[in-house]
Amino acid sequence: MEKINIICVDDEREVLDSVVRDLDYLSDIINIEECESAVECLELLEELDANQEYVAVLISDHVMPGKTGVELLTEVEVDPRFLGTKKLLLTGLATQADTIKAINNAKLDNFLEKVWDPVELLQTVKELLTEYIVERGIDYDDYLEKLDAPTLYRLVK
């Protein structure tokens, strides 16, 4: 089985904990990483890349000290090493200008508002993970039971 990661970035510990808790369903097939800042996330990305691990989904808050979430996601978007990594912005404090940037520059794959519905978050991440696995040509057999079936059918056919 390939090593596939989902990274969560938020400067508030409690938020990270609850995101991880909501995604716990996926934790036996993928590795869920937590970062408390954009800089920490970029370092982690370097490390994962050096080990040739996949980064399927990057979930980021927007307003954080230092680099903002949109800046982080934009950097990942233009880096050819992370081609295809799905980007989800999870925030309650993005202005319209931020949102426009997030869509145009970071090519956001999904946008969820805080406070989020745990079921919706899990479902969204499942769909994004499925898309990533199929698009990158990873053997999906190993992950079948945890993937989103409708998305899988749509992409595989």
């Binding site: 050096a50 080990n51 040739q52 990158r136 040509g137």
Partner: protein, 469 residues
């Protein structure tokens, strides 16, 4: 109307050829099969020159038409027994061109290139190898050219150019608007890629096409090719470098190529490095282990598939169009040869009166000219079967090295066509950067083409004197 001509001509002219009485070709005892081969050849030539359909589609069309009208399993009315019918070609031979050893050699090359790119061996090597060249624009350019040439010996010229230009583009943006150095840099990469392709049998498809005609006592191994190919590349690179820095001197004093990244050290990456090195060594040491380069080429294919280095998804990235383009050329050669047309036609035309040196110069100049306006591979596909048949029948050539000299001169000429953006995909990519004008490219490419041809002649003369070929 002008637009329609490119569709009408490739259909009309071959049809006329098919319908003419066989006595009208001036070839004694021309069979029906041979006449059909002429029609297919003319159609191929027109399709590759006028490009009404993609060039690889022309290749597929050649193979399918051969199966339909000159194979032993073709359409019923093409097989009526008659004294004029001639020799039908086995369908297995025609289909076999898809998997000819030359295609397998290229497939192996593609696997190496895809794995090298996927595990960033190419970019990391470029980063390390560029360091010693410092920051003086002149030497950075020399470094870029050497690395581009070395890579294009093993990877496709186009992929190498794309990679090097992507490194170069941010740097070119720092040049002032009227700094001619920009032109030199933008041109240095495609020039080096085109020249570098000459260095090995897998460097560029025309070399592969040539291998089909370099058989038996004329065969050239991977290592032997490199013994003359690499010095040729070095000399041409030096000439190109001097020419570019003289023509387009840079006023910027310092440039900094910033390539990020580090060598991957995962087990898969290490497998790629080892396989890459071992394959090249096996290719070079052909005599020691008994495997020829075609057999060696399949080793990386098996290794990379086994270790999931090249996955199902990566398989889709293989340039099947290039492989098929070459297959079509091989099929064309097979048809000319097996039908007996090549021999008959050469016998009918009084080439014996022609001076052999005139033939070598004429054929290579024609090839250079064609390669400037159309695909290098298509040029080689069309010219090499004719040239090979001609060379084999001309005894006057023997003192000058025989058909090998003729074939190599034409093959090298095919790679030297690089004076226009449409000449080769690397040229087109460099032109797309917006830093080069067609005029400038034509000057550099034109001069290098002619100089390259002269260097080729000198090299072949020396090789012949040394009795190497």
């Amino acid at each position: 109307m002008k637009n329609n001509m490119k569709f009408i001509l490739p259909i009309l002219i071959p049809l006329i050829i098919l319908l003419l009485p066989s006595s009208s070709f001036g070839i004694e005892g021309l069979t029906l099969v041979e006449q059909r081969v002429i029609a297919i050849f003319v159609m191929a030539a027109l399709c590759w020159v006028l490009e009404p359909i993609p060039i690889y589609a022309t290749s597929l069309l050649i193979i399918v038409l051969e199966l339909l009208i000159i194979s032993d399993q073709g359409l019923w009315f093409t097989k009526f027994e008659s004294p004029e019918l001639g020799e039908l070609i086995s369908y297995k031979v025609i289909m076999g061109t898809f998997a000819s050893p030359i295609i397998m050699l290229f497939l192996g090359g593609f696997f190496l290139a895809i794995a090298a790119t996927k595990y960033r061996l190419d970019i990391n090597l470029a980063r390390v190898l560029l360091k010693p060249f410092g920051q003086n624009p002149k030497y950075v350019m020399l470094g870029l050219m050497i690395i581009t040439a070395v890579f294009s010996m093993f990877m496709s010229n186009t992929a190498t150019t794309a990679m090097m230009l992507s490194i170069l583009t941010p740097v070119l943006a720092l040049f002032s608007q009227d700094d001619l150095g920009k032109v030199a840099f933008a041109l240095s990469v495609p020039v080096a890629a085109n020249i570098g392709g000459i260095g090995t049998p897998i460097g560029t498809p025309p070399n592969a096409v040539a291998l089909k005609y370099l058989v038996d006592e004329n065969s050239i191994s991977f290592g032997e090719w490199m013994i003359f190919g690499v010095p040729f590349v070095i000399l041409m690179l030096a000439i190109a470098w001097f020419f570019l820095i003289a023509l387009f001197p840079a006023s910027i004093k310092e440039i900094n190529l910033n390539i990020k990244g580090r060598f991957l050290k995962t087990p898969k990456a290490i497998t790629v490095y080892v396989t890459f090195i071992v394959t090249i060594l096996l290719w070079l040491m052909g005599g020691l282990h008994g495997m020829n380069s075609y057999v060696v080429a399949l080793i990386p294919v098996a290794v990379f598939s086994m270790f999931k280095i090249i996955t199902k998804e990566d398989l889709k990235k293989i340039s099947w169009d290039v492989l098929w383009l070459v297959s079509g050329g091989i099929a064309l050669g097979v048809a000319l040869d097996k039908s007996g047309l090549a021999k008959n036609a050469i016998d009918a035309i009084p080439f014996a009166g022609l001076h052999p040196l005139l033939l070598i110069a004429g054929a290579s100049l024609l090839c250079l000219l064609m390669a400037n306006f159309m695909s290098h591979t298509a040029t080689a596909n069309l010219l090499l079967p004719l040239v090979a048949a001609l060379g084999a029948s001309m005894h006057g050539l023997l003192p000058y090295g025989g058909e090998v000299v003729l074939i190599l001169a034409v093959t090298f000429a095919a790679s030297l066509g690089m004076s226009l953006p449409i000449s080769t995909p690397p040229n087109a990519l460099a032109f797309a950067s917006g830093h080069v004008e067609t005029k400038q490219m034509a000057k550099v490419g034109g001069v290098l083409g002619i100089v390259g041809l002269l260097v080729t002649y000198v090299m072949l003369f020396i090789l012949n004197q040394m009795e190497f070929i």
